[in-house]
């Protein structure tokens, strides 16, 4: 196989690996405003968690 084809194959594999991850963008700051009786103050009218932006849920325990 020609070197350029090998590189293309590697890139395709890498792209598939990245593409398999559903976008979970961080720090876009489209906050939802949770109304907590909060033990932890929430700045800027809402928190800055990744879970507001498609990231995983944090350990915030207020319901």
């Amino acid at each position: 196989m020609r070197p350029t084809r090998i590189v293309a194959a590697l890139l395709s594999a890498a792209a598939i690996g990245v593409g398999a991850a559903v976008p979970a963008l961080a720090e876009t700051h489209h906050h939802h405003h949770r109304h907590h009786s909060s033990a932890i103050p929430q700045h800027n009218g809402g928190d800055h968690d990744g879970d507001n932006n498609g990231g995983p849920s944090d350990g915030d325990g207020n319901i």
């Binding site: 961080a26 995983p56 849920s57 350990g59």
Partner: protein, 220 residues
Amino acid sequence: MVTTTVVPATAMATSSRLASARGAVAVALLAGAVAVAVLLSGGRSGHAVAPAVEPQPSALLASLRPAPAPSGWPVATIPSGAATLHRPPAWSAVEGDSGTVSFALRDAEGRYHGYLNVTPRQGGERLRGWAAFRLARNREEGDRGVRELAAREGVAFAGARGSCVIDDYASRAGGNPYRELACMVRGPRTESVLIAAALRPDWSRLAPSLTRAAEAFAER
């Protein structure tokens, strides 16, 4: 009769430059591919992890026990000083609530592949019934398809005890599929919640690192 084809010198030079440029592009692309592969490997430098087989959630919980963090893992303490978390070297701090610490493994586009978070106990969290609390909390946050895979109470941490649950859900924003190990840990004086999560396709690869972070977690 022998026919000889002579390629003009200018054409040869152009061909040579094209070949050289093509080679440089190929090398650059290959370097990029390697960089992406290293990033997505979990940044486990100094800590050999074999992600060959996905751990069964119940087996993972049963195997949790206090252990020192791998050599070279940076440590972070939440602002109150109540809890200490180690993280893989390639993971970076991400913004979170005040009073908490969060680290993540993200790619160049900001996607979360792995996530660690420590939050002081805030509300109605209890060791007994922790799994149900956590799942209800995720649903209340708007996560979808929340599903418990395994739960265990009486988990030993360094100088502390805890309750843990492993569950799947899709994030409220973006519907991204995650699997998390969520533990509530009670130390002699304080209580915190530890979240160790990964994008579902990355769980097999990152679970060993997440587990090591949990096993090195310390609550005061």
